[in-house]
């Protein structure tokens, strides 16, 4: 059973069996426009909540994606190296950015559920 949480910075984090997958929301990819490059972190990198973990670059500008919680990077989405536009076409699915462990599951309680997030961008 998985559950997805959202941050005010438009990241999503899906938690399943103690590991988390992180990406940016569909709203965020729309705001950024067509992505041409995604700078992914190294596997094993320790992240603190709020750290800039990934840089997504559109035709025009570079933007940071922040870690929603503390933890360690366990996997990155290698498919984005050759096809960064996956983030545009499937932000909540195949366009995920990285997977990470959760150091402190209680940090999830500070995040929004989908309904609360949708209310912030409405």
């Amino acid at each position: 059973m998985s559950k997805t949480y959202f941050t005010p910075d438009h990241e999503w984090i899906r938690v399943e069996d103690g590991t988390a997958t992180v990406g940016i929301t569909d709203y965020a990819q729309e705001q950024l426009g067509d992505l041409v490059f995604v700078e992914l972190p190294q596997t094993g990198k320790a992240l603190k909540k709020g750290d800039a973990a990934v840089v997504v670059e559109s035709v025009k500008a570079a933007s940071d994606v922040y870690a929603p919680v503390d933890g360690e990077v366990t996997e990155v989405n290698e498919a984005l190296s050759s096809d960064p536009a996956l983030v545009n076409t499937a932000a909540m699915g195949d366009g995920w950015l990285w997977k990470m462990t959760l150091s402190d599951e209680s940090q999830l309680e500070g995040l929004m559920d989908e309904a609360a997030y949708k209310a912030t961008i409405a």
Partner: protein, 363 residues
């Protein structure tokens, strides 16, 4: 200063534009198609750009040509009526205050098109120089549209404007207070049309009724001009960069480089004799990561030898592209350089400009 609004803003809103501020104007950056599709559409069909943030000036009077030839390194009297010329506004140190298009509409009538961000400064500079001349300078209230791409001529014909007789860098006044030139800033064939605001919406609607035409935002305008190797004033050209370093000397007639008569000549003459210290070049980063404006360029020994002034991604060439300034010794195409972006070293090579061939309709 409050943000300035385009007369056709509501049309852009209805088209679903995403807006941002540029040079003090609330400008459409992208439309729902997105920058990639907008860029490619312009190269394949016809892209409609609202460039009303740019300022047109009418320069008229007995001394109009003499005035312009003093203000710019230009032989305005030699411009045949209907002919446009890319020129520069230089300060006394030969720094580029702005880059302009001057069009002759007759021996004593000219239209000057200036960049949005520089229009106020340009006008003050013009008025200062104009004191010695019998000339009237009027900032015109116009909507300014660019239709760019291989289908532009045919789309305009369908919208009731036959400009097929124009060749690149020539212009006409199709109606009272209208001005139409075969020019643009994308590297494609195309037109720039200034018209009274009250005529603009119905004209834009006629163009957009043709399925080959669509609105294109400022984001694609930037990627198109960068692929075409064209300078953006404020980034690639500034008041501290001279025309020799900027590699825009072609805009200054050879005779004037010797004879002078324009503001900035003495300094320019000295730079021409000594040679530029640095020069503007195209840059091709390896891999997919864009290298943006402001990044330093190093040689293989790690010494800083230049800087990036414009950088992004080229949707038509499908790789990152950039322009910048490098020391003369590193300006040959193929020279390998390194940029550092967020801690990673990105190799680049000096690349000939433009990245995509110009497809202007020459005479």
């Amino acid at each position: 200063m409050s943000e300035k609004h385009l007369p056709l803003e509501s049309m852009h809103e209805e088209a679903g534009a995403r807006f941002g501020t540029f040079a003090g104007w609330r400008m459409p950056l992208t439309y729902p198609a997105g920058v990639m599709k907008e860029h490619l559409h312009t190269r394949q069909k016809a892209g409609l750009f609202d460039i009303s943030h740019m300022q047109l000036f009418a320069v008229e009077g007995r001394d109009a040509a003499a005035f312009l030839s003093r203000a710019c390194p230009l032989d305005a009297a030699a411009l045949r009526p209907g002919k446009s010329k890319y020129t520069l506004l230089l300060n006394n140190e030969a720094g580029i205050i702005d880059d302009l298009i001057v069009t002759s509409l007759g021996p004593d009538r000219f239209i000057v098109v200036a960049n949005a961000g520089n229009a106020t400064k340009d006008e003050a500079h013009f008025r200062d120089i104009s004191k010695d001349f019998t000339v009237r300078i009027e900032a015109l209230d116009r909507v300014f549209l660019a239709l760019q791409g291989p289908e532009a001529e045919s789309v305009l014909l369908g919208a009731g404007l036959d400009l097929a007789d124009l060749t690149f860098m020539t212009a006409v006044e199709p109606k009272a207070n209208w001005f139409a030139a075969r020019s643009g800033y994308t590297g494609e064939d195309g037109f720039e049309i200034a018209l009274p605001p009250e005529d603009a919406q119905s004209f834009a609607e006629k163009i957009l009724a043709d399925e080959r035409a669509m609105w294109i935002g400022l984001a694609a305008r930037d990627s198109l001009r960068l692929e075409a190797g064209l300078c953006l004033h404020g980034q690639d050209l500034t008041e501290s960069i001279d025309p020799v370093s900027a590699a825009v000397l072609w805009a200054i007639p050879k005779k004037l480089r010797e004879d002078g008569g324009f503001v900035g000549f003495e300094t320019l003459h000295g730079i021409l004799a000594a040679g530029p210290k640095e020069i503007r070049v195209g840059l091709k980063p390896e891999g997919r990561q864009p290298v943006r404006a402001g990044v330093s360029l190093r040689n293989e020994a790690g010494e800083v030898v230049g800087r990036v002034t414009s950088g992004g991604f080229g949707p038509s060439v499908e790789h990152p592209i950039a322009m910048g300034y490098v020391a003369k010794a590193f300006s040959e195409p193929g020279t390998r350089l390194v940029a550092e972006v967020r801690g990673s070293r990105i190799p680049l090579s000096v690349h000939p400009l433009p990245f995509t061939p110009h497809r202007y309709r020459k005479g």
